[in-house]
Structures are given as structure tokens and as C-alpha cells.
Symmetry: C2
Subunit: 235 residues, 2 copies
DNA sequence: CGGACTCTTGACATCTCTCAAGTATAGTGG
DNA sequence: CCACTATACTTGAGAGATGTCAAGAGTCCG
């Protein structure tokens, strides 16, 4: 049972050669790119935009397998059909490849194949981190870790204050972290009241103190406990 | 950040050729095979026995990344050092390889390399299933899914009653599923009282009704709810 | 047989979810 | 440009699930 879900981090150099195999496509925000169960004929290189890979469970719960960014490769690890649905969160530009052609190319190119192995290994590492997160962390820790991870994606260090974009909804974040919308919102509010972050609007958050967020994410929760009770920091 | 953690499912045919590169070793139950942080010089093919891959967190919590069985390959995806500690749960027989030699061999063998890719992809699939499990499932669902997964490892179908071995402790299971010992124990007791399983001893459990367990694992909890309240089934 | 460990069970605390209301924001049509 | 509507977000109160702490029972091993 292999899935189409994980976003592989960057278009490696070897793939550049393959770009001529692909067609450039544009998707408006909120559009499905493929559906779970579709024939997995293509894979997609995300040139610009953000998308989410999700799965609907029998009982109506939704699980988000991953968010994908510029440079991610999507749909590569499907077997016959996609295991997840891919939808654009923002407007997206993607390059679409036929999976068969990519497979053929990789059979003929050991270096491409070892790139694929490397990509898949980095997926494994990402997933292991998520298993750890979902298995061991509290709601606040997960949200803190999520913010740090989003900052890290932009290449931000965890040392300096920075602004991050969260184009996905709180619901999306919740479904990704195994929490409800309300719990995500409450965690963010706590960070805000503690002065650790500043919420500019729905999609923009300033990390005033990324280092404290990192500590929160690792379980050193006690830093904020004194701030949590009531002190209001103007936003 | 790649880790040494995931157990890769089966020794593929291609690896048989490599056996002469390895040395056979024996570990008594409860022995460390390698520690997180050690130089990742070797990888291990588990010939016989069960081991656990664990990680200690800063705050003392323990996370179990995976349990490994006969036929699993361990320590392959480490970068420089092992990210997890491997310990034998039962007496174990392993074949130890130098990772360098395996890497060299794979560079010269496209078929070996594509086997490695396949193994890594199956790790990805396993991990995705776990992310789903940890993100979306209740305690009872996780325990039910765990029992089913343990049965599936032995090649048991989910149709017929069968007996499974759980050589690991309840604590181990809890650390694997993101639950406490007590919650694991309570879930098992519930299944027992509902007649879905029978607990023979610490390590042996009969799955009377694997199909119901499968349903539980997928969220159809209501089956047992009528049985849960009090009715005692002799064990 | 004794001691250590694991497992089970109970009582209670805590965390997150659920349900509900109110607010803010974005998009739409006039 | 404004009003209106739909949607997302926030916040509160209470319920439910799991964790914590504690005690007792069962099991293994020396």
C-alpha cells in the first residue's frame, strides 16, 4: 500500500532535465488537482503556490497528509491510484509529468534513481518526525512545532523574529495536527497573549520569539505558564 | 535529517547475495544492539526475534519508533549516527553488515538500488498509516489497529480467529501508540469483556473476532458499546 | 519462597473535544 | 462604494476521553 501523499522537498538538479517532459498548468485557489482514487497517471512539480494533500475517512473525519510548497514533488509515490486528494490552497502553477516517463527515465539513469531514493528517504525522516509529534506532543507543542516548521520551510532560522504565511485555514492546520479548529485557535491565542507571536491577519503571523516556540515544541512548557494567566498583550 | 528507525519489511531476493558480507550475531532478550547517537557503521538484518527502536525525549518520555520482526532490515536509513536505540525484546539472531559495503554494492547494482527504493517506499507507506492512526484515532481504535497489524505481520487474514504474540510490554505498546500503559491495558480489557479477544497470558492474545477489531480500528465503535457496560465474559 | 516487575483496576485531574454564540473578514451583487 | 452573506476565526461552558496517581493482583526468576 503505497500512497501519493508525501511532498518531497526540492526539485533536485537531475530533475531539471526532465522539465521538457512536463506541461505547465495553472490552478485557481481551492481547486482539486487530483482526487484520491483517480488513476495515478501523472505526478506534479509545484512551481508556485501551496496545496494540501488530504484524505476523507469513513466516518467523515478529514486527515491532512501534508502541505506542499514551491519545489515539492507530488504524486510520485502512488501505486496505481492516488491515495490522497490534492487541492490548491492558493493559486498554483505546476508542471505535470507522466509518471511512466519519469519511471522510464529513472531506470536509465542511476543518478536520477539515487535522487529518488534520497527524496524518499527525506520523506521518511519527515514522517518520522510527525509520528513523534502526533504520538507524544500536546496541542500547544504541536502548534508551536508547526509554526517553527513553517518558518523553517522559508529557510528562516529559529533564532530571529520572522513573519510566516499560513495560507491554510485553522481547520486545515487542525486536520494536519490531529486537533480541532478550536484547539488550534486557542493555542495561537495563548501564544499571542504570552507575546510569543503576533497575529497580523488570518494568514500572517509574526514569530516574535521563535526560540521560545522551539522550546515549547520540545516540551519546555513552563516558560509561558506564568504569562498564560490573563496578562493581555496588545496585538 | 534521516534516521535509523524504520524497519523495512522483508529481505528482498537481491540481498541474499549480500549475506556473505555479514556476520551472524546473537543478542539475549533485553540487550541493546545500538544506541541513538552511536556511529552508524552497521546495518542489521533480523534473522530471528523481535526488537524495538526507541528514542528518549528531553523530558523523559519515551517514543517507540517501530518494532522489528524476522526479515526486517534495521539501521539502513541512518545518516551518520543512529537516531534511535535498538534493543532486543526477545532473544535475537541478526546478520550485521557494514553500511559502506552495502552502499558500494548498491551503487554497482541498479536492481539492488531499486530494491532499496522499494523498501524505503514501503516505509513511507507504513509511516503514513501511522500518522493517520496517531492523528485521527482514539485509544481503543489504536489498540485495535495494533492487534490487527500484529496479526497481519504473521500473514494472518483479518477474517479468521487467530492467536498473536505480543512479546513487548504494555508500556512498549503505549509508547508506540502514544498512550499510557494503563490506557492500553484498559482497552485490552474492554475487548476482552466484549469477547472480541481472549488474553491467554502477557504475551499471547487470541483474536476471536478480527473483523470486529478491524471495524473498531476504522471508527465503527458502536458495535461494542452495548457489550461494554458490564457484561463479563469468562477468560 | 521472596522480590521485582508487569499488568490490571479504581479514583481523580487534566486536556481536548463538542456545542454554541459572537466577531471579524472576504467575497458578491447592487 | 456599500450592504449583505457566507465563511473563517475566536471565545466560553460543559462533557468526555485519556493521563496521573495509587493500590492490589499476577507472574517470572533467582
Amino acid at each position: 500500500m503505497s500512497t501519493a501523499s508525501t511532498a518531497t522537498s526540492q526539485m533536485p538538479a537531475q530533475f531539471a532535465d526532465l522539465r521538457h517532459l512536463g506541461h505547465q498548468l495553472f490552478f485557481k485557489a481551492g481547486t482539486p488537482i487530483f482526487q484520491a482514487g483517480d488513476d495515478a497517471e501523472h505526478c506534479f512539480y509545484l512551481v508556485r503556490g501551496v496545496l494540501r494533500l488530504s484524505r476523507l475517512l469513513l466516518d467523515g473525519r478529514r486527515h491532512i497528509a501534508d502541505f506542499c510548497d514551491e519545489g515539492d514533488l507530488v504524486g510520485l509515490d502512488a501505486e496505481l491510484v492516488y491515495e490522497v486528494t490534492a487541492e490548491s490552497i492558493t493559486d498554483c502553477v505546476v508542471t505535470r509529468f507522466r509518471r511512466r516517463e519519469l519511471e522510464t527515465a529513472s531506470r536509465n539513469s542511476p543518478s536520477l534513481q539515487s535522487e529518488l531514493l534520497e527524496l524518499t528517504r527525506s520523506d521518511v525522516a519527515r514522517l518520522q518526525a510527525r509520528v513523534l509529534q502526533l504520538g507524544c506532543q500536546t496541542a500547544r507543542e504541536r502548534v508551536a512545532a508547526f509554526l517553527i516548521a513553517m518558518a523553517a520551510r522559508r529557510g528562516e532560522s529559529t533564532k530571529r523574529a520572522c513573519t510566516i504565511e499560513l495560507p491554510m485555514t485553522r481547520q486545515d492546520i487542525g486536520d494536519y495536527l490531529g486537533l480541532t479548529t478550536e484547539t488550534v485557535s486557542r493555542s495561537l491565542s495563548e501564544f499571542k497573549h504570552a507575546g510569543t507571536i503576533r497575529i497580523i491577519d488570518r494568514t500572517k503571523i509574526v514569530l516574535n520569539d521563535p526560540e521560545r516556540l522551539s522550546h515549547l515544541a520540545e516540551g519546555d512548557e513552563d516558560d509561558t505558564r506564568d504569562l498564560r494567566a490573563g496578562r493581555i498583550v496588545r496585538d
